[in-house]
């Protein structure tokens, strides 16, 4: 990560901490965002070029307080936020006088905010956008482009969700232990969704990909830090680290798509792979198996190719078979079929695909890409071409489309 990006993430980090702190006290997310919004924009503008201030939170607070005092925004900012902002500004000022290097002068309430966004009464489709906006300070426009929604629509849905949080009396406290697992699951799902948005670079070749991957990793680290006993939080972090380690190998210098099996392992980030291994290890010691740990285990098997030069497909079939038991997603079923084809033969892989229910697969791109690949290996070129053409139609990424077209032409 370059210095500009690091400064931007630091600004988002401090902003999220302050929004969470204020929102938990005022019980009003929009009001907290309003109070800090201008200061945050100023930080985004100046920190990447002028460097990080010694105490980022104090910088934001001073700027926010100044705005509140000397502009007529005061009237717009909800009354409940002002005493909370004043109180925290006062506290930070005192703490800084006592110990200028102190890092966290007030409690970190971001996890409460994350869990609030994952409350079962909030529409599942708006949970991830809500987290990205409240905890990371992304604008509705940024989020809308990553989620392929019109900015005005995204803006309205976010406003509506925050109004519901405020008016319906959704509690800001962390859920009771009994409800923690289901809520954590929603938080982790949302983080993974954010990660995939960035990773799939769905905005196509003409515009830069939505860069949500760093933020997703950062949110997962936050969950691990705040809930060290939650194995699945570590599982998700490990999974994303494995995928992220391959970042540089996924595209050729010309921007062409390179499938996992053909990637140059020398381009994989070994420190990241090692961190992923360590994280997955810690997770497995907690003895609560779950979907993300299994998916991380699959990536761990793939990562072994960097050391041994080969992939243990039989092990992958086993892990995928476990995964479809607890999380029967299309991706898991198709991944299992691919592993069966490699471990045994293309015919058996095809059979595994045929055993799946047809209707949801019609619009699932990886299904058609794998089917085309297997049929080509079985010399059924016409059927293979038809599958590739289906896969091309369903690909949102231009580089993937070009790769599939090339595969099809070679037949």
């Amino acid at each position: 990560m370059d210095a500009r990006r690091a400064a931007e993430l630091a600004a988002r980090n401090s902003y999220g901490r302050l929004v969470a702190y204020l929102a938990v006290r005022s019980r009003d997310v929009s009001a907290a965002e309003d109070a800090l919004g201008d200061a945050f924009l100023a930080a985004l503008k100046t920190w990447p070029s002028q460097g990080l201030p010694a105490n980022p939170e104090a910088w934001l607070l001073v700027a926010a307080r100044r705005r509140l005092i000397d502009t007529n925004r005061h009237a717009r900012v909800k009354a409940a936020t002002i005493p909370a902002l004043e109180q925290i500004a006062e506290q930070v000022a005192q703490d800084l006088q006592a110990a200028p290097a102190m890092e966290t002068p007030f409690p970190d309430e971001r996890l409460k905010l994350l869990f609030l966004c994952a409350h079962p009464t909030i529409d599942p489709g708006i949970r991830t956008p809500l987290m990205l906006q409240t905890v990371l300070g992304f604008t509705a426009t940024d989020i809308a482009s990553a989620f392929l929604v019109a900015p005005a629509t995204m803006g309205q849905r976010l406003v509506r969700a925050k109004a519901k949080i405020r008016d319906a009396g959704i509690p800001f406290e962390l859920p009771a232990i009994a409800h923690l697992p289901e809520r954590l699951e929603a938080v982790l799902e949302a983080i993974y969704a954010a990660y995939n948005r960035g990773w799939e670079s769905i905005s196509g070749a003409d515009s830069p990909p939505a860069e949500l991957t760093d933020e997703a990793l950062w949110l997962a680290r936050l969950c691990v830090q705040l809930l060290p006993q939650a194995a699945e939080a570590r599982g998700l972090l490990a999974l994303m680290l494995y995928c992220e380690a391959r970042h540089a190998a996924r595209r050729s210098p010309e921007g062409a798509y390179i499938p996992l099996a053909q990637q140059d392992t020398a381009l994989w980030s070994m420190p990241m792979v090692q961190e992923a291994e360590a994280t997955l290890n810690q997770a497995s010691k907690l003895k609560q198996w779950g979907r993300f740990q299994l998916e991380a285990a699959i990536q761990s098997v793939h990562a072994q190719r960097a050391k041994g030069g080969t992939t243990d497909w039989a092990a992958l079939v086993q892990i995928y078979s476990g995964l479809v038991q607890i999380s029967p997603t299309l991706g898991a079923w198709v991944g299992r079929a691919a592993a069966i084809a490699e471990a045994h033969n293309p015919q058996r892989g095809l059979q595994a695909l045929d055993d799946l229910p047809a209707s949801p697969l019609k619009t699932y791109q990886p299904y058609w890409a794998l089917r085309g690949h297997l049929l080509a290996q079985l010399q059924q070129f016409d059927s293979a071409k038809a599958c590739y053409s289906q896969a091309i139609k369903l690909s949102t990424d231009a580089a993937v489309r070009a790769f599939l077209a090339h595969q099809s032409e070679e037949l």
Binding site: T121, D167, A168, G169, I170, P171, P175
Partner: protein, 119 residues
């Protein structure tokens, strides 16, 4: 905070109210629920409503009164009444809503009351 726990019931549930074989069980369940709310100190009002066939919907069109027999929306489940509860937050209100007989026999909608003095 005050919440309305709104009871939506299908036709066969409304029918049970006056049907000799089901009447006792029907009213008994709601009575037990009311009592539980009262004993927990969260009951804050509410009312039962006559079945939807007694309802009339009215609106003005260019100053002229239009009247229609029946409820406003023609849906499978209709409003049968509501309980008002006073509880700390939505989670607690939802826990109470889940205990309402209509959560099993129909649908329950939970909505916060809008305090008019705050406006």
């Amino acid at each position: 905070m005050q919440y309305a726990i709104m009871v939506y019931e299908p036709e066969q549930e409304f029918a049970k109210r006056s049907d000799a074989t089901h009447q006792e069980a029907y009213w008994g369940a709601y009575q037990a629920y009311s009592q539980a709310l009262a004993e927990a100190g969260v009951a804050s009002g509410g009312t039962a409503l006559h079945p939807p066939h007694t309802s009339t919907t009215l609106w003005l069109e260019a100053g002229h009164r239009k009247v229609q027999d029946g409820p406003y929306a023609d849906t499978k489940e209709q409003l049968g009444g509501m309980f008002i509860v006073d509880v700390p937050n939505l989670d607690v209100a939802l826990d109470w809503a889940a205990r309402c007989p209509a959560a099993t026999t129909g649908r329950v909608e939970v909505r916060p009351l809008l305090p008019m003095d705050a406006g």
